[in-house]
Symmetry: none
Subunit: 520 residues, 2 copies
């Protein structure tokens, strides 16, 4: 579809496909980008007013507004939704960035555009300033539906304590000392053995690095492989904790699109590839989709060809509700570019804080230094107990049992959403992981849902908490694993009542967003 802007500028190349899974505003944004790159607009030239373009393209004004705002956030446009938008003066001098345009975080400022790894000015204070503490952690004891938690009440604590007593009796002198740099030898061996079998990871015990939890593993990766200014590709929406770890190391984030096949490799960036691509192929966080076989192959090929590192976060990939759990990406990579990350924080209990990174042999020397510098070795007694727990098959047994239990809870959630929240939310059937996405139905306002959830004492993070591109269809995230069926039902009921009582008034006095999103 082509349209002439009122100013006479032709909006070439903007095609809107209503059957596409790509949200309309993204299609529009992408078309506008191409137009800007092709210098269709003069620098300083005015873009069509929001209302006019919306009418012309037969999309909502909100769609146009979002696309404009995105381009303005990228520094391509200037202006406000009130005053209207112009092409940023001097834009043409910037040359043509590749597609997709990298999102350059405000800090650190790259000295020149487009280079993957360039020295930049890096200031700790401003790096910390851009981190949002509220999004890093949920406070207080977990309530339904806080995502990403296992049910630790189901953890076989007695068995664990018995194994602990055993290993302490056998080797207390050794276990009161610090372990080797990469962790307790028998634990590294037990994990390597298990990962080969249960997750198809190709590794020896020498490649297994024990870390104090998944967040430390991410930090370890950042502190080993990233310099300030390096680009890091990451799913958007995605894990804010991971993003924050990379931002703290001074990385520039390159958001990668996610659809029902999972994340797309940044093919347009082959000439200037990111230093690293962080992905959650087993169960995309937070959308929950599994990465398709074609996309897996594309990612691995991209890494092989460009030399980018792939960080495969498999922290929720152990639980699968549709057929077999997919084997790891790492196991399919033959060029040694994938680092695999798993944790006991989702399979056993969070306080244990033992995770494991499987690194290619070429990186072990560098990791041994950062590992020593970061400190924080998990207690050797715990490591030895875990080694025994895994070696005797209890971890596999527990994961299997939890998989069954979590599946039941997911069913309970699906039924509850169906019976209590049907007017507002449509549950996406989760294939894997510890949470499910619920899409807001037409006319249901994201903010109203947030307020009702808070009023009902329910934790219900909205998808847009997990990144900009979450502006697909608005949605929410239901963590279901750590709550009993009864808790799930009760929380859904409370939420339903709150929404219904609010919904009336929301129709009577619709908010701006409600009005814009509603297609009556």
């Amino acid at each position: 579809m082509e349209s002439a802007a009122p100013s006479g500028t032709r909006l070439a190349g903007i095609s809107i496909d209503r059957d596409s899974s790509v949200p309309l505003y993204q299609q529009l944004e992408s078309g506008l980008r191409s137009a800007l790159r092709a210098a269709t607009f003069a620098a300083g030239g005015r873009l069509p007013a929001i209302q006019e373009l919306a009418a012309k393209l037969q999309v909502s004004r909100n769609t146009v507004r979002r696309a404009y705002q995105h381009l303005a956030a990228d520094g391509l446009l200037e202006g406000t939704t009130r005053s209207g938008f112009c092409v940023r003066p001097g834009l043409c001098a910037l040359g043509a960035p590749e597609e997709p345009k990298p999102e350059t975080s405000a800090q650190p400022a790259p000295r020149s555009a487009g280079l993957a790894s360039l020295a930049v000015e890096f200031n700790r204070c401003s790096a910390l300033d851009q981190i949002d503490l509220e999004r890093l952690r949920a406070d207080g004891p977990p309530r339904p539906f806080r995502p990403a938690f296992p049910d630790s009440n189901e953890f076989p604590l007695k068995r664990w304590e018995a194994l602990r007593a055993k290993v302490l009796k056998e080797r207390s002198a050794e276990l009161l000392q610090q372990c080797d740099t990469f962790g307790y030898g028998p634990l590294r061996q037990a994990i390597a053995n298990r990962l080969r079998g249960a997750r198809g990871v190709a590794c020896t015990a020498e490649q297994v690095i024990i870390s104090a939890g998944a967040q430390q593993a991410l930090h370890l990766v950042a502190e080993t492989l990233l310099s300030p200014g390096d680009a890091v590709g990451m799913e958007e929406p995605g894990s804010y904790r991971a993003k924050a770890a990379f931002l703290h190391a001074g990385a520039r984030m390159l958001p990668l699109l996610v659809d029902e096949e999972g994340v797309m490799a940044p093919e347009a960036r082959r000439l200037h590839p990111p230093a690293m691509v962080y992905v959650t192929p087993g169960s995309q966080f937070p959308l929950g989709v599994k990465l398709s076989l074609a996309r897996r192959a594309a990612l691995i090929e991209f890494a092989r060809d460009t030399g980018a590192w792939i960080i495969e976060d498999d922290c929720a990939g152990e639980f699968s509700y549709s057929g077999q759990a997919l084997a790891s990406l790492q196991g399919e990579d033959e060029s040694g570019r994938v680092l695999y990350l798993g944790t006991t924080g989702t399979t056993l209990f969070p306080a244990l804080e033992i995770a494991y990174l499987v690194a290619p042999p070429s990186l072990l020397d560098r990791f041994s230094k950062t590992k020593e510098l970061l400190g924080a070795q998990p207690c050797a007694i715990h490591q030895a107990t875990l080694a025994r727990f895994i070696g005797e098959g209890y971890l596999n047994e527990h994961v299997q049992r939890m998989n069954g239990l979590y599946y039941q809870r997911l069913q309970a959630l699906a039924q509850s959403v169906d019976s209590e929240l049907d007017e507002f939310i449509e549950l996406e059937p989760a294939e894997a992981g510890l949470h499910a996405v619920g899409w807001l139905k037409r006319g249901v306002d994201e903010q109203a849902v947030t307020h009702c959830a808070a009023a009902a004492g329910v934790e219900l993070p909205v998808l847009s908490n997990f990144g900009r591109t979450a502006l697909m269809r608005p949605g929410v995230v239901f963590g279901f694993a750590s709550f009993s069926e009864k808790q799930i039902r009760r929380a859904a009921k409370k939420l339903g009542s709150a929404l219904r009582s609010k919904a009336v008034s929301s129709v009577a006095r619709p908010g701006l967003l409600g009005r814009l999103m509603g297609r009556a």
Copy 2:
């Protein structure tokens, strides 16, 4: 309460609060310190007799005696309980130490000298390249005389496990979840209480940040307060693990001279002060000296005037063999520039990996972000057990018992060096900590000692491992705390034999260093 000393000097500002949890002798000591700092006493001036002051303040003579002895141990007073105490002559003259020469590390290159916080090019790979992994950690099980280890065989493991069972029984559901950002509340409270009493740290529980070991605490400090290019002042010789943590963050190291009074503040750098000064005032690592009162005052004044942060590493300061352990530097700082660091790795057992940082309130927001980003929270079960262990007085009891035991071992080491190594090494009487320095005698070659130690199966790090010691007599470091008297004697004997068989040739063909240092 004010009182006039018999000499006519008024003891202003000494107030005794009988309802306070701070022991009376500490209150008195603190008041006397202020008086001495304020130069209320003339140098050489006589202090009130113990009996008189006790009567005046209505406290026991023992209280006054302890306070005086403490101040004498700090080098502030001279005298004995029998003869009475005077202000140490020359105390007031200790104002301006000589200017240390700044050492600029090869990497990262500062753009201009002297600026505390300037942007530099920072590359992770080259930062890691300059770290020497061999110096970061000792491999294999500890052998005599590896320094800086406590004797974990003496740790009351049964009592610990009993407390663990108790806390698990009482609150397992809570303890399987992750703690709050800064750690388990009751542990932070227990540590704050203990540090106020045992180490004179001025803090509330809110200021206590639990970290996963001392190395993580250092890394946490670096990742919170340092930008690449910032200067960090540090004792030389000093802890390589600390230095490496700062180098990894891109810091430029500013070595600070150490003499028998401890480290000197970088007075010459007042105009361009380092961002941070890292010190070990309780027991300088590795020389073992306590920081004198005058130097303490100078450091605090420097930080107050320049805005530099002081990191007080007190990890070995709990053990003292000459009078009382010195109170913390942090407790004397009234301008909120000192961060205090302590650990259970030296008082309990290394594998526990629980350390604690006391930060000024002004920094807590920044630390809460880095703490979340670094991850690696020590297991909540351990934290709760430790809270109970401290709360019931077992930590103080254990430290006291170990102090006695380590003192005996130090005596055994002194005797062994005397009887077995007298021709080669002169032991410096250690005042505190877990190791003692041995100075090489004239004509004894450092390298020859290293070779003989290796041949005898003895670990004996040379002082020059801990930084440039060109201005110093060559020496070695004897860790004595974690080895039995028998092990110490046997190792000294072996080393003596090895040295004697080698020594003949070393006298016949002295090395360059041997010739230069030898004063025939």
